[in-house]
Subunit: 166 residues, 2 copies
């Protein structure tokens, strides 16, 4: 007996096999997604964690350490290790807060912006190529599914970034 649903074959995309393929697509695509920055960073003393910090400081200049902590979802000890090397190496500047002097506001230096450029140029080139290959409709769908996959709190943070960025 075929499983006849009201909406017919429009639910075929929900079969276990289809969903499994989606899972595998995420796995392989994420490897590609990180490959270019990883290549650039290897050899430098930096890794993916440094890239993430640089990305979000670039995205929200003046953000505080605890903001960054929330966005990245790591412990402050872990972030601090990364941040310390970036500050020592002169890629990031931490300015003491004017209103609340406990806070450190983070900015990329010229040198930091240079590395950010290099990293995001590589990553954007790949994304851009994928977008171009797939077309606008596919891109809209891509974003919709990704948003739906996020945890609610992360989605809120993501959308917060969207607003400030638009």
């Amino acid at each position: 007996m075929a499983d006849q649903t009201p909406s017919g074959e429009s639910l075929l995309f929900l079969t276990d096999e289809q969903v499994r393929k989606g899972i595998e697509a995420m796995f392989f695509a994420y490897r590609g997604f990180t490959a270019d920055p990883d290549r650039i960073l290897e050899g430098m003393d930096y890794g993916r964690a440094h890239h993430r910090a640089i990305h979000f400081i670039h995205r929200s200049p003046g953000t505080t350490v605890s903001n960054l902590l929330t966005i990245l979802g790591v412990t402050k000890q872990s972030l601090n290790r990364v941040l310390r090397t970036l500050i020592e190496d002169g890629l990031v500047e931490a300015r003491v807060g004017r209103r609340d002097k406990r806070e450190r506001h983070l900015f990329l230096t010229a040198k930091g912006q240079e590395l950010e450029r290099e990293l995001s140029d590589a990553q954007r080139a790949r994304m851009r190529a994928a977008y171009r290959a797939a077309g606008p409709q596919a891109v809209a769908g891509f974003r919709q599914v990704l948003e739906a996959m996020m945890d609610p709190e992360l989605r809120r943070q993501y959308q917060g970034l969207k607003e400030s960025g638009a």
Copy 2:
């Protein structure tokens, strides 16, 4: 002066901001993607690496160690550490090859299939919810963009899995 391209606003999805948002969407979505299995595995002595091995052994039963090595993109030392514990704990069985006795063919035991179920049920539930929320067209676009993001060799491997799975 507005940048007027022949195809007009259909290229808006290629702006730097749009591409950056896609990058951030990948970052946050991947966190959600791995969150459920991670939660299940914490406490057990296993991690994400074990999950990946289990997934692909389930997907291609009888696969060899070197096949798995290629798919996962790690060193044999790294994979071996994971595989050893899975075999010791009776989740995976390694059968000596019949034609080539140097090869080990990997299978999930009943116990291994049980854990695979548990892990993939959780992950599939999230994917399924995301798919349902976004709709069939969005899912098609999602898959198209992800495929386009992969490295060519990885895309070939992914598509190989697709065929054997369909």
